[in-house]
């Protein structure tokens, strides 16, 4: 009886409890050490670069610092103007002191050969202002007081209150203005947040289009995937394995190849139109325009994302016990009722998993819309690429990317909660 009162010990006399704890923590450490190299790799080559990019969406030094490309030496610019902005609250009418500060800064810009950089930063918000900076900097040294008149004589737009508001925003490296721009907002002359004029409202429209097209594509993949997933799940394995190859082959085929084939099929001189004309269903002069527009994007993306819907549906459907439906039938349900009340509810987890996955992938799609989308089939990713490569407004690209990323990560979190990442399967 006395033995029980004493703590259990291991062979070498240590208390069993602490020995077990130590063994467990050693096992935990060992498991973690196995994962550590990969985790470090992903953090360095993936998480950190994305974080660095997100930082660019709130940090832009185009109007605050100049960096010499060869020496790497950094010089603050627009310091006089920044001091004036600090001293005067938003909405203050720019006075002679403000213009004098601007003129002094323009001289510095000229010496540093940086008027283009500062002008570009303002140009993101007020188009056409880049040339004002380069022009004014060229004649900056010759400017005489009163500076207000002198500058206005160079270009009367220097008096534009919106320009002064844009310079105020840019005079600090940290700004949320790019996020405002990404949702079609801006600050007016007195510093309030307002919608941009109608003809410049693009981003909200594009976000809406991305969401609606993704929803449409998700719905279409569901409609197409459900019947064949059901067929695959109910056929004997020998046959379904063969048919499964028809689903997996597109999955394994290069994305560019699949997009190319749709271009070939959907062109106005392509296979589908030729077949329709050949069958007499369509006159030669009114061939369908299915490419370089929204239709092309939707058709091609539905095809490309279809396997991602079929596979989760299939794995759920295969586990559904057929005797439930049989029981419903024998109790007098029609086949439709049995499907609606018994079979369909059991497939909902598969539908959820497939729909979330397809939607997540569709929202961020780039290649297919870029190639077959034309002007009105572009998605938000294409606009990010445009700002990265063409307009070179990297901070705006980063802000748009941050909004897209936030949406995708929220959906990813939802997917993990509802489905579990462990249940992600590839064929």
């Amino acid at each position: 009886m006395t033995d029980i009162a004493q703590p259990l010990t291991t062979a070498d006399g240590k208390p069993l409890k602490s020995a077990l704890l130590r063994a467990q923590s050693r096992a935990r450490r060992r498991a973690f050490l196995l994962v550590l190299p990969l985790l470090a790799f992903i953090l360095i080559t993936f998480v950190f670069p994305i974080g660095q990019m997100l930082y660019k969406s709130v940090y832009n030094e185009g109007f605050t610092w100049q960096e010499d490309v060869t020496t790497g030496e950094r010089t603050p610019i627009m310091t006089n103007l920044a001091a004036w902005f600090d001293a005067n609250p938003p909405g203050t009418e720019p006075d002679e002191a403000a213009y004098a500060a601007l003129a002094a800064d323009l001289v510095v810009l000229r010496e540093l050969k940086a008027p283009g950089q500062a002008g570009t930063r303002i140009n993101y918000e007020i188009s056409g202002s880049r040339s004002m900076f380069t022009k004014a900097a060229r004649s900056a040294e010759k400017l005489e007081p009163p500076y207000k008149e002198a500058l206005l004589e160079l270009d009367k737009d220097w008096g534009n209150p919106d320009l002064w508001q844009a310079m105020r925003g840019a005079s600090s490296s940290y700004t949320l203005n790019f996020y405002l721009a990404a949702i079609d907002r801006e600050r007016n002359a007195s510093g309030d947040i307002v919608m941009v004029p109608e003809n410049r409202q693009v981003y909200v429209k594009l976000f809406t289009r991305t969401l609606t097209l993704s929803l449409l594509i998700t719905f279409l993949t569901f409609v197409l995937a459900y019947p064949i997933a059901h067929l695959l799940a109910t056929l004997p394995l020998r046959h379904s394995n063969l048919l499964m190859i028809l689903v997996l082959l597109p999955f394994w085929t290069s994305l560019l190849v699949r997009t190319t084939s749709w271009m070939v099929l959907l062109q106005s001189q392509g296979v589908v139109n030729d077949a329709l004309v050949g069958m007499g269903l369509l006159g030669d002069e009114n061939r369908l325009q299915m490419m370089y527009n929204r239709t092309g994007t939707v058709i091609a993306m539905t095809h490309i994302l279809l396997p991602f819907m079929v596979l989760p549906l299939y794995s759920v459907m295969r586990l559904i016990n057929p005797s439930y439906v049989r029981a419903a039938r024998s109790l007098g349900a029609t086949s439709w009722t049995a499907f609606r009340r018994i079979y369909f509810p059991q497939t909902v987890p598969g539908i959820g998993a497939g729909a979330l996955l397809v939607f997540i992938l569709a929202v961020g799609y780039y290649i297919t819309p870029a190639l077959v989308g034309g002007a009105d089939g572009q998605l938000i990713s294409n606009l990010i690429a445009f700002h990265m490569q063409k307009s070179l407004n990297w901070s705006l690209a980063a802000a748009l990317a941050a909004l897209l990323l936030a949406g995708v990560l929220a959906l990813y979190w939802l997917y993990d909660k509802l489905v579990g990442i462990d249940n992600l399967k590839l064929g």
């Binding site: 994962v35 067929l231 020998r238 394994w252 070939v264 392509g270 961020g364």
Partner: protein, 306 residues
């Protein structure tokens, strides 16, 4: 799915309609991939079946686009096709250069992704792994995050560390492609490890094997099919990736998808279709290998299909 004898007429009609619908969907899935194969043998520079092709007239078909793939970029494509012609093609033909680059990048990124991914999967499949769910979510995220965001981030990252000055060719693309391939390796290898019987490793340890020997002699042979399919997934991901290459690749770092991308955007010619055909054949081969591996793995784990 056989229809029972007592099925009503309506059920019969619906059953056959359903089968027709399924066949139509399968055609939708597979036809776009197969249709480019005959079109790549078109003798005319069009993207549709010419009358001659439809009549199966041999004149309607030709190998000219495959020939163009080989000669495009060569210094002297008209020379007689002897040893020096082939040497010229090997050294200068653009598609051959792109193939070489794609294979080099794909090989190294696959090795990196598979090694790191397999080791990590071993840790992740242990029940005592701390923070398993969160870490798994981070490791799978490269597959979920839109590619344009990854490419943009890497563009800034690589220019801030000046990776092109390090003197290692393709380094940036290889690291990026390894990152993109890792989720596939993790998913396939952890899926194989789910059915793994851990008493085998304990038995090995009990018989005196150290952890490395246990891994190499007991665990590895059993999870090998999963590792190989993961590696194939990673390779295909790299082999097909174009956006990161466009953003961070140097001018001389042409790969097959990049060359295709340029070809599609600029002057789409049936030569693209012949590349596409070759890629389709490669993917059929890869799919076959993965299917065989999957069956082998199921057999090893006693889950043989019927």
């Amino acid at each position: 799915m056989a229809l029972p004898k007592h099925a009503s007429t309506l059920e019969r009609v619906w059953h056959y309609t359903y089968l027709v619908i399924c066949v139509a969907i399968f055609i939708f899935l597979i036809a776009p991939i197969l249709v480019i194969i005959p079109l790549s043998f078109n003798a005319e520079p069009y993207f549709t079946f010419s009358d001659k092709m439809l009549r199966f007239d041999p004149e309607g078909y030709s190998m000219r686009w495959y020939d163009l793939l080989l000669t495009f970029g060569m210094q002297d494509p008209e020379a007689p096709r002897d040893g020096s012609w082939w040497a010229d093609a090997w050294a200068n033909a653009q598609w051959i250069q792109a193939t070489k680059n794609s294979i080099i990048i794909g090989f190294f990124s696959t090795v990196l992704a598979t090694t790191l991914g397999t080791i990590a999967a071993l840790g992740l499949s242990r029940s005592e792994m701390p923070g398993r769910r969160a870490i798994m979510a981070i490791l799978i995220s490269p597959m979920i995050v839109p590619i344009i965001i990854t490419a943009t981030g890497l563009f800034f990252f690589y220019s801030s560390i000046r990776i092109q000055d390090w003197g290692v060719p393709y380094l940036g693309i290889i690291l990026a492609h390894a990152t993109l391939g890792i989720p596939f390796v993790i998913i396939t290898v952890t899926a194989t490890l789910v059915g793994f019987d851990h008493s085998l490793t304990r038995a090995a340890a009990n018989l005196g094997a150290d952890p490395v020997t246990t891994f190499l002699r007991v665990q590895m042979p059993l999870i090998l099919p999963g590792v190989i399919s993961g590696a194939l997934f990673a390779f295909v991901t790299s082999f097909d990736e174009v956006v990161v290459v466009l953003f961070v690749g140097g001018l001389d770092e042409q790969t097959i998808p990049r060359q295709m991308w340029n070809g599609i955007r600029e002057q789409i010619s049936p030569a693209i279709l012949s590349v596409a055909t070759i890629l389709v054949i490669i993917s059929i081969a890869l799919l076959t290998v993965v299917e065989l591996l999957r069956r082998r793995s199921e057999k090893l784990r006693g889950m043989s299909p019927g």
